[in-house]
């Protein structure tokens, strides 16, 4: 096995082009488990932890460019205001030790259906910045997840960053597991309100081969909110609307029975998560509509 240790992104891309089968490793929270348990023997490891460019974030014109190597602990400490949904998901990842090492870039690279960042990225119009020695490719999160642990990256590409617009409305994330820490999601849910566009985005995790948007639920709720003029003068949501939204979110799933839970439980739990998360997000909008810049 080779251990490749680039110091710059340019070096990393040259090495990845030369060794397309090299497995990138950052926090190691997925890759090292596979090595420790002999599930994987890659020809090479490509250590990205020395590449300073990947460990930075910046904000320009209302868009956060989050380097793929920024650990969850820093997303929580530094980006809770700009990216509340992603920060909420980051708080639920593993334990302090895991959050100190694990990265959003690693979540995307592994593309596990249970990755905590994914549902959020799907609701906030995130774009994955994939780079190779050939150039840069911008892949919307909605087109990034192709299957269980399969993503849209080419063999010579690395994830440099994720581009995420600063929140313009309330965002929530929640997940179900056996305890509050160290939990791989049995199912998870993210919602983002986009008042300026009079639109709701919702996505589910760990309940289908890939994380995915709940489009029918989004259209239903967006339609209800607009029809009732709720964006301009928000009032409590009628219970039937919240309930129907939860049902439609559950219908977006194609869950399986596995060691973490049954398909039936996942469907039930998703409906509950969606109803609750909508309640929190809508309360936030009612209470702080001014902060979200008014709307249509």
């Amino acid at each position: 096995m080779d251990f490749l240790r680039p110091d710059t992104l340019a070096e990393a891309l040259a090495l990845k082009a030369e060794h397309p089968d090299a497995v990138p490793i950052a926090g190691g929270t997925d890759v090292m488990v596979e090595l420790n348990f002999d599930h994987r023997r890659p020809a090479a490891l490509l250590d990205l932890t020395r590449v300073a460019e990947l460990r930075q974030w910046s904000e320009r014109a209302g868009v956060v460019r989050l380097g793929s190597g920024v650990p969850y602990a820093r997303v929580i400490d530094e980006l809770g205001g700009a990216l509340p949904g992603l920060a909420a998901a980051s708080r639920t990842v593993g334990s302090p030790q895991i959050r100190n090492r694990g990265t959003v870039g690693g979540n995307l690279g592994a593309a596990s259906p249970a990755g905590d960042a994914h549902p959020v990225l799907l609701t906030v119009d995130a774009v994955v910045e994939a780079v190779s020695a050939r150039g840069t490719r911008l892949i919307p999160a909605t087109e990034f997840y192709l299957g269980v642990k399969r993503n849209a990256l080419e063999p010579d590409e690395l994830i440099a960053a994720v581009l995420i617009p600063r929140a313009r409305g309330p965002q929530q994330f929640c997940k179900v597991g056996t305890r509050n820490a160290m939990v791989i999601a049995v199912c998870s849910f993210a919602i983002a309100l986009h008042p300026a566009a009079a639109r709701v985005a919702a996505a589910i995790g760990s309940a289908a081969p890939t994380p995915r948007r709940a489009s029918a639920a989004e259209e239903f709720l967006s339609g209800e909110l607009t029809a009732a003029d709720q964006w301009r003068s928000p009032r409590p949501l009628p219970e039937p609307v919240r309930r129907r939204f939860g049902e439609l979110v559950a219908e977006a799933a194609s869950p399986i029975d596995d060691v973490r839970g049954t398909a039936a439980y996942r469907g039930h739990a998703l409906a509950v998560l969606a109803r609750r998360a909508l309640g929190w997000a809508w309360q936030d909008y009612q209470d702080h509509r001014d902060r979200w810049g008014g709307s249509v």
Binding site: M1, G28, T29, N36, A44, P96, Q97, I98, A181, M182
Partner: protein, 153 residues
């Protein structure tokens, strides 16, 4: 491959390190530091918690090569000579140790918490130790130990 790493303030070198090896294996099997324990090898139990450049991590999830040129502090590096760190002392006094296997990881995690938060609340202590499993104590004595150490520091 060769790995040069500063461990507990001392420059150490290991040769013929396998490229897929963990920092935990390097510490225990090559550098003779068995304080960090090997249990789950998947980041679930926290028994192998060490500082890597002052940040607590699971040593089983760090590739040995990633520690090259960096600083590691293990539980062996917390005491000064024969003088135990206040966190270690508090674990002994509070009876927070039964079989002792999880103790090194818990001590490092608690040490880090008290470096960041001088007087942590109970929820803060629970959150900070959420990644460290103990199968003997039921955690109550461990919480006592952290509260005691916080009062003394």
């Amino acid at each position: 491959m060769r790995v040069d790493v500063t461990v507990n303030g001392e420059a150490r070198r290991a040769d013929d390190v396998w490229e897929g090896e963990s920092l935990l294996f390097l510490l225990r099997e090559r550098l003779g530091l068995p304080g960090a324990k090997n249990a789950c090898e998947q980041g679930e139990c926290g028994s192998c918690t060490v500082y890597l450049d002052d940040v607590p991590v699971c040593a089983c999830l760090v590739a040995a090569g990633q520690a090259h040129g960096r600083e590691v502090r293990t539980v062996e590096g917390l005491a000064v000579g024969d003088e135990l760190d206040p966190v270690q002392e508090a674990f002994v006094e509070a009876g927070a140790v039964q079989c002792g296997f999880c103790t090194p990881g818990l001590v490092v995690a608690a040490h880090d918490l008290l470096n960041r938060v001088a007087a942590p609340s109970d929820p803060e202590i629970r959150e900070a130790l959420a990644g460290n499993l103990c199968r003997c104590t039921g955690y109550e004595k461990i919480l006592d130990a952290v509260r005691l150490a916080a009062r003394r520091r």
